[in-house]
Amino acid sequence: MKFQRSAAGRLFGTLLAGMAAAFLSAGADAQELNALVWCDHSDPEVLKPFEEANGVKVNVKEFEGTGAGLAIVEQSQPGDWDVMVIDSIDVRRGVEKGLFEPLPEDQLPLADIFPDVMMDQHGKVDGKRYGVTEKFGYNTIGFNKEKVDPADMQSLAALADPKYKSRIAIYDYYLPVIGMAALAAGKKTSELTEDDLPAIRDVLLKWKANSKLVGEVTASQTALATGEVDILVGGGEWVTAGLAKENPALDFSIPKEGGILWSQSLAMFAASKNKGLALKFIQYILSPEGQARLATSSCYWGMPASQKAALTDQERKTLRFDEQKEFLARAQPYPAPDADLDKKMQDVWTEMLQAQ
């Protein structure tokens, strides 16, 4: 089975990722770190202090979606990559493929991390830590408080209310939005099974009928920022915080049914040739300065995993830092389906997208 996946990977992205890896390895030496990242890590303001302090260059390659990220790794040579940003729920997928190196817990500031986002059930395998949470937030309701009644946004029921017809955008990622639909249907995201899908499907179809678009990050952000829509299903601080300066009317709520807690982790590759530097990078990202810079990255904002992040008062206010305890208590975990349920969830999502 492993052979199947890795062979599929080799056959399919060899050209693109192979070229990227060859390019990176050609110029690689001990002073370079190759990182597979999400776009928030590409912000020079995030990388600069680490590069300057260590006299190194961080080469980043962005990807979206764990499947795409793991395909890049499979198409590369062992040792091409040093660290990877990954959905916390997917750390185990990388461990099962033998990609990740256990992290030395005693050399990481784990005590600083919000206990609710440690995600040990995903980041630890057989007692060893392979992933460490670096940033988190909520997939919930993002909205323009000047255009909609904030009181309505305290319940997911408002998303199917005809008075908001064509004023809603849905974030185009099936796991968190299906999680929200599960909350609306009165289910717990940690206990979802195939039997729950019909109820989730009904909620999704109602939301789709009320929506104007289903958009990825940029499209949904743009729609909310330009007033094309007033509500973003699946939105949260990651949409509204970064735009707060230009548009202070944008806000988010954690409705009474709850919100979905998302989190991203950092992992180190077992085949890395720069493990010392990779560990330093992880330590930097988890440091107060690294956390503050990552939390306010120009690509998207999010809550720093560390409670000691060196944020300004204004940044803390924008991120609603002091309300996190209450938010975390009401948030439910990101759905973490097995492969079979994952496929079925995606099919429900496809049906929703095709519904007219």
Partner: protein, 287 residues
């Protein structure tokens, strides 16, 4: 002597292969082998399911209405884009070839293909802003009294078609323009001498003779539009899925390359059928 002659004969016999060899190797290495690999992968299934070769991915396409609906959507959108683009490109090419003085034609052509010079993604996002509720189009329609309130133009099939047409009109204009320029003016004079009206000349002389240019451009439009991911993704607002979007959906999180390969091959089959139809038509025309 005889041996030398034999060597010379061998060289002569192999000469075509010397020239065709590099191109053949290139095609085999970068088209035939990857295609074969894709066909093999399409018979696999993602981990957690069967490890044997099977047609499960293909069955899934035909069994799931959301999947084959994507193909229907793709064909509908592509057909509309192709027809509308031809209808707009022909008059434009005609004006360029016949209405613009010879010395200005080069400049006019450059202006006509100017949209090609901007990024495809930037152009699509620009259309999104133009078509939005607060965009130029809605503002003009509301200000002129034609509409009482803005209408949804962005994030619709209409927006996808508009984005495609904007791009492909340029492509078709070039192919039709080339056909028109190759048409000797004497044909039209001869038709006029024989008493044909302008419309008759166009219908019986010009249109049939420029049809190969139209067909080539239309085929290119069809192929490029049906395989495009960017335009429907940005302008369509995911309010319906086309085939490239369905394929990408399989890869993003789950990395289901086998299913993505099967869907890609089905899409390629449709393109092949379109090619065969166009090739057959062009062959018939020449005959």
């Amino acid at each position: 002597m005889k041996g030398g002659q034999r060597t010379g004969d061998l060289h002569s016999a192999l000469r075509p292969w010397y020239f065709a060899g590099p191109a053949t190797l290139w095609t085999v290495a970068f088209f035939v082998l990857p295609l074969a690999a894709m066909a093999v992968v399409s018979l696999w299934t993602l981990e957690g399911q069967s490890t044997d070769f099977s047609l499960a991915n293909y069955r899934q396409f035909f069994a799931n209405p959301s999947y084959y609906r994507a193909m229907i959507n793709s064909l509908e959108v592509t057909a509309i884009v192709t027809v509308v683009s031809v209808l707009l490109a022909y008059p434009l090419a005609w004006i360029l070839a016949e209405g613009v003085p010879e010395r200005w034609q080069r400049l006019a052509l450059i202006l006509a293909i100017l949209p090609f010079w901007t990024s495809y993604v930037v152009r699509s996002y620009s259309w999104l802003l133009v078509l939005s509720e607060r965009g130029v189009v809605n503002n003009v329609l509301v200000a002129s009294g034609l509409l009482n309130a803005p209408v949804q133009l962005a994030n619709t099939r209409f927006a996808t078609i508009l984005g495609f047409v904007h791009f492909f009109v340029m492509l078709l204009t070039l192919t039709i323009y080339a056909s028109l320029k190759q048409l000797p003016r004497t044909y039209r004079r001869a038709a006029a001498d024989l008493g044909a009206s302008g419309l008759q000349t166009f219908r019986h002389i010009i249109l049939p003779l420029t049809m190969p240019g139209i067909m080539v451009g239309a085929f290119l439009t069809f192929v490029l539009a049906i395989g495009d991911y960017v335009t429907p993704q940005i302008l369509g607002g995911n309010n319906e899925l086309l085939m490239p979007q369905l394929i990408m959906l399989q890869i993003g999180r789950r990395g289901d390359f086998p299913l993505a390969a099967a869907l890609s091959l089905i899409l390629m089959l449709v393109v092949t059928v379109a090619y065969l139809a166009a090739a057959r038509w062009l062959k018939l025309e020449r005959a």
